[in-house]
Amino acid sequence: MSEYFDPAKYEGWVCADCNIPLQLSKVDVSYLGNSFPVDLLKCPNCGLVLIPEELALGKMAEVEKALEDK
């Protein structure tokens, strides 16, 4: 299970456009030419992806900083 955010906290979220619940799936994230797949909540229909606040301000911010200082 992913350690970078808690999907249980986001159970209530649905894609407003398609009106279907978001599902955990592999999504590529990238920065400064480095890319890797992670598990994120995504609309299985239109592909809308939810980036949780704690991920954006936590691990994502850390990766950004590390890659910028590389």
């Binding site: 209530g12 979220w13 590529d28 592909g47 994502m60 910028e68 200082d69």
Partner: protein
């Protein structure tokens, strides 16, 4: 600045020079280090340092003539450090029976040492430890030479004998009763001639009357010719030291000064030469600072208080351990660090410029393993205070700025470092704010007022009032130019963006007929000085001081002035400000660091964005310097201090502000508000003065947001602007691309106008406005894969 100039700055920093004591000591005993260790209570470590410099510590600590005391910086502040007494204390309290001498494996070559005095013994000791075979030839019947002449109560014989035991431990062969000089004929028959066949090198450590030693060339003065750097004689195998050296080099001064520590130094230096000679490497390469010299180290003792030794001390005094520690603690621990003492940034990284420049240089050359991150280079405020206090003018601001230029050139500048400030600049140079007009009713201008983007962002009403003041005083012939001077681009080393901003300025400036530019912001003033040499500029404060009519104001208490760091070199502005305040009846108490020595508020160099924790330290340090209200004349300094709760006024608050309200306590203006203020200012001035209207605004601007106080604080902290959130909502509402939480009914949506993705959680109010719950952002991109 190229790498050569970087190196040059690095070389100028004298922090790594030896303190006066160690430099003047011919053997370079690390007095400062020894004192530090003793003061810490580590006599063992202190003794180790001492032994490193002196092979016969017991002897030296009792008979050294202590040249260090003559130059010690404590001399006139209670009396020089009693170093010999501290050395004796190390020996007494730090010696242990387990000490072993380290010796390299025995090599094949052997050296003859002639003369068993202290310089000869030092040569023998040093070479034996390096693994060379050594034979000492002594004319008398015991080793030690002149040492035996020192009074026994000063140099107890057991100490002397004990120190000399090391000669035996190192398995050095000693031949007593062997005289050198004057033995008959020239050439091979002589003792020296014989020795040079038998040995690989010879050290001549004999008394002053050895000029009759055959085989060696004499100099013009009839003394043995000796190279003053390597101590080599005309015979490449023969090196000299001790009195024979002194007679030769000090001629015609026949007064020989006997100094044990000098003899040790001679011996060490000769041993280095002999070792190199035996290894067949250069005798002369990198032999700097050998023997006694004067240091270039600067140490500021202006705040050191005078303190005398605990007890009176001479060469026979024995300290107990407490007295030793107290004496050691008197050592000033001489070093420079003038710049580090005043700059929280330099202090934060726990080094000093010489080290930093060395590491920056490595970083830029991309050698393996960056020791300092890009962030280090981006944290400097570029304020130039370091150069102001540095005895040799080292300017880390220049070094860091140049390093940023290189980083940008090499495409290694972290995108997040300056992005926010650059976008702020883009806003100010965009249609929401940028404006250039001659005075209402005129086609060209003799003067143009350039208030800058930050004053307009913080207090737009003062821009209006000061513009009115200028028009009144210059027959209405003053135009107005609203835009950014380009400082953020300069600080971020974005030459491209700076040039673009500059070109836009010049286009408008020429249309106005190249008027004189009146600048109220000190950062603008600095940028114009640096990058617009052909533009004639005037400081608004000089104009105000000359033409303004000032009412007396209430000053409940004295105030203190914070000069913005960008005015460092502009003493005329410092004077004008002080005169204005005095004319209004204010009493000024200067800060310890003001005018050319003023500090940065952390806005400079985009430091506040590149490294928030260090920037906070910087502001905090400045505002802690006085409990009085601060008065400044830069909008950013004012707001940075106010944000930290420091009562601060912009001088405009006195000139144009409401007298009744407590403006020193007014909150700082947030980032979104600054944009808003600039846009409103332009709109109002256009309407009031030129009867023009603003161009149409974007669709997102009609989105009304409601931000509870905590959310307002959150977004300000996260550098998220109202316009960023408006764009997210406009996009989400227009396209339907958003997420819905079924239980809370909140929407969550994102938008990526540029390189940053913004997220907003919101609900729509009945009145059509949007209530914001949170907003956050990231730079990582989602859903875009790298080539596999």
């Amino acid at each position: 600045m190229d790498q050569k100039q970087l190196r040059e700055q690095e070389n100028r920093c004298i922090q790594e020079q030896a303190p006066a004591c160690a430099a003047i000591c011919p053997a370079h005993v690390d007095v400062r280090g020894i004192a530090a260790e003793i003061a810490k209570g580590d006599v063992v470590a202190a003794l180790k340092l001492y032994r490193k410099a002196v092979p016969f510590p017991g002897i030296i600590s009792r008979i050294c003539d202590q040249p260090c005391k003559a130059v010690c910086l404590r001399k006139d502040l209670g009396g020089s450090i009693e170093i010999a007494a501290l050395e004796r204390a190390c020996l007494e309290f730090g010696s242990s029976s387990e000490e072993t001498v380290k010796q390299l494996p025995r090599k094949s070559k052997t050296v003859a040492v002639i003369g068993g005095g202290i310089s000869g013994l030092t040569v023998a000791h040093d070479l034996a430890r390096k693994g060379w075979g050594v034979v000492i030839f002594e004319a008398g019947d015991r080793l030690g030479g002149g040492l035996w002449k020192s009074p026994p109560d000063l140099l107890p014989r057991d100490v002397l004998i004990n120190d000399l035991k090391i000669i035996e431990e190192l398995e050095i062969e000693v031949r007593l009763n062997m005289s050198v000089g004057g033995s008959g004929a020239n050439g091979h028959g002589t003792f020296l001639g014989k020795l040079s066949q038998e040995f690989d090198a010879i050290f001549l450590g004999v008394g002053p009357h050895s000029s009759e030693i055959p085989d060696l060339q004499m100099n013009d003065n009839g003394q043995i010719a000796i190279d003053p750097l390597t101590f080599q004689t005309s015979n490449e195998k023969v090196f000299a030291g001790g009195d024979v050296l002194r007679v030769s080099t000090l001629y015609p001064n026949r007064e020989l000064k006997h100094s044990a520590i000098l003899s040790i130094s001679d011996g060490r230096r000769a041993a280095v030469s002999i070792d190199r000679f035996l290894q067949k490497v250069s005798l002369t390469a990198s032999r700097v600072n050998e023997g006694s010299y004067e240091t270039k180290l600067y140490t500021n003792t202006s705040t050191t208080t005078s303190q005398a030794p605990l007890i009176e001390t001479d060469l026979s005094t024995r300290y107990n351990i407490e007295v030793a520690e107290t004496e050691a603690a008197r050592c000033i621990q001489c070093e420079c660090l003038e710049c580090v003492k005043v700059c929280p940034y330099l202090d934060h990284y726990k080094g000093y410029p010489k080290k930093y420049i060395r590491e920056t240089y490595n970083n830029l050359a991309i050698v393996m393993g960056t020791r300092h991150s890009n962030q280090f280079i981006n944290t400097c405020a570029l304020c130039g205070l370091c150069a102001e206090v540095c005895p040799t003018d080292v300017n880390m601001g220049e070094v860091c700025h140049e390093a940023r230029v290189t980083m940008v050139d090499q495409k290694r500048m972290p995108p997040s470092a300056h992005d926010f400030a650059l976008r702020d600049m883009a806003f100010s140079n965009g249609e929401k704010f940028a404006l250039a007009h001659s005075a209402p009713g005129l086609d060209s201008a003799s003067y143009v007022f350039f208030p800058g983007c930050q004053l307009s962002g913080s207090t737009p009403e003062y821009v209006e009032k000061s513009y009115a003041f200028l028009r009144e005083n210059f027959d209405n012939n003053v135009g107005l130019m609203l835009r950014c001077c380009g400082a953020p681009a300069d600080w971020a080393a974005r030459k491209d963006l700076f040039a673009q901003s500059q070109n836009e300025f010049y286009a408008e400036y020429e249309k106005l007929g190249k008027p004189k530019v009146i600048l109220s912001c000190s950062s603008c003033y600095q940028m114009f000085q640096k990058h617009y040499p052909d533009v004639e500029i005037v400081s608004f404060w000089d104009v105000m001081n000359e033409h303004g009519k000032f009412k007396k104001r209430e000053f409940p208490a004295p105030i203190t002035i914070h000069d913005p760091c960008s005015t460092r070199r502009e003493s005329h502005i410092h004077d004008s400000i002080r005169e204005i305040i005095t004319k209004m009846g204010g009493e000024i108490q200067e800060l310890p660091l003001s005018r050319e020595k003023t500090e940065c508020c952390s806005f400079g160099g985009v430091m506040w964005l590149a490294n928030r924790p260090v920037a906070e330290k910087m502001v905090q340090q400045r505002i802690n310097e006085s409990p009085l209200d601060y008065v400044t004349y830069c909008a950013m300094c004012r707001d940075f201090f106010a944000r930290k709760g420091k009562r601060t006024l912009h001088i405009f608050d006195y000139i144009f502000g409401e007298e009744k309200s407590d403006l020193a306590a007014a909150p700082a203006v947030g980032f979104s508000q600054r944009h808003e203020n600039r846009a409103r200012l332009k709109e109002k001035l256009l309407r009031d003065l030129w009867s023009e209207t603003m161009p149409d605004s974007g669709a997102f601007e009609s989105i009304r947001l409601v931000l509870p106080e905590d959310v307002q604080k959150q977004v300000e902290d996260r550098l998220i602007l109202v316009e960023d959130m408006q764009k997210v909502i406009e996009y989400a509402e227009r396209t339907g691309k958003r997420m819905l939480n079924n239980s809370t009914k909140h929407y969550l949506a994102y938008f990526k106008p540029n390189s940053v993705t913004y997220w907003v959680e919101y609900t729509k109010n009945d009145d059509g406005s949007f209530l914001i719950y949170k907003a956050y952002s990231h730079r990582m991109e989602v859903g875009i894969g790298a080539p596999k």
